[in-house]
Symmetry: C3
Subunit: 134 residues, 3 copies
């Protein structure tokens, strides 16, 4: 099992493509085949597999905000973006996994791994874990 | 592979923190490192990684209900809460996984594993599966 | 590790039950216990664990469309259903996993594995990966 903690700096409600960072860890691990698990330890940010196009990623953030508007009537009493971020995180999810074949992450030509910052800007951590199939 | 079925008793549309139950199984399994998969066999309840604060969890349930209102015009003909619960389950998800390091579940300081009852009250089952990295 | 790519033909915004296809691969793999990971390489379709009832699946598609309406004001410039499909995919998810016990996929009596086509109709691929517990 190969585990690596990675740091990124996010922007307010930004969608951050981390496909390159994760793919590089897959290569470093030396795993020819296996599974790659990506997670994070935050409760106001999500990890999603989605379109690699920045406009499509922006549409995703905008419609999640439309579904869960940042507003002042939340029970959780922090900032409105923090309180709303907890809900968005539950909907988007905090962890994803991929298979590895021929030493590469298996992803579709239009897929990307996106870190969805629902609050921020903030430094954030990602955990990439690789289980080689031996 | 260590597998354990756990029972909980839910409340109507209640958010139930099961972090302690899952963490205890990780310890019982004796795994120093590996992966922990948590799932359930129900179609009107979700498993989410979210904020450990009860007010934030209540906000999550409230906004999921706002996005998918319990109402009478569903095609699926059972109770309204059962029919709506099927939709909420598809959005929230039915399974999650975590890495294990140093014999402990890796979770952020504000993260919790929450069983989201979208119907109920009812007895429900969780499945905790642990793959030790040997 | 056993990996199989499967093809399906979808209908426009159709919910396609693929439980039988996935279960058959579990049997073919010969795994007595382990984990089964199901994913796909598309960015306008989701994989969900949900109710096996076709009416409940239709309710899921209808409420996802209500939450993310197909419309013309997306930033991503393709067809409206393609642009909306990217958002729906991020919410529904692109990969799921299950445990295998006694040579069978562990699923509840009302659960199904559903391929949710958010655009289409189109030929689509599923990837079923099985890690036997040895």
């Amino acid at each position: 099992m190969y585990t690596k903690y990675l740091s990124i700096q996010t922007t307010y409600m930004g969608m951050h493509d981390v496909t390159g960072l994760v793919s590089e860890e897959v290569r470093k691990s030396g795993a020819a085949s296996g599974i790659c698990h990506v997670s994070m330890l935050h409760s106001t940010a999500g990890l999603v597999i989605c379109s690699k196009y920045p406009e499509a990623a922006a549409d995703i953030m905008q419609d999640i905000e439309r579904a869960v508007p940042t507003r002042v009537d939340f029970k959780h009493r922090e900032t409105a973006s923090d309180a709303g971020g907890h809900i968005k995180t539950a909907l988007a999810g905090s962890q994803i996994s991929f298979i590895i074949e021929n030493g590469e992450l298996v992803l579709g030509p239009e897929q990307a791994i996106v870190f969805a910052e629902f609050d921020g800007p903030r430094p954030r951590n990602l955990i990439v874990t690789i289980y080689a199939d031996s």
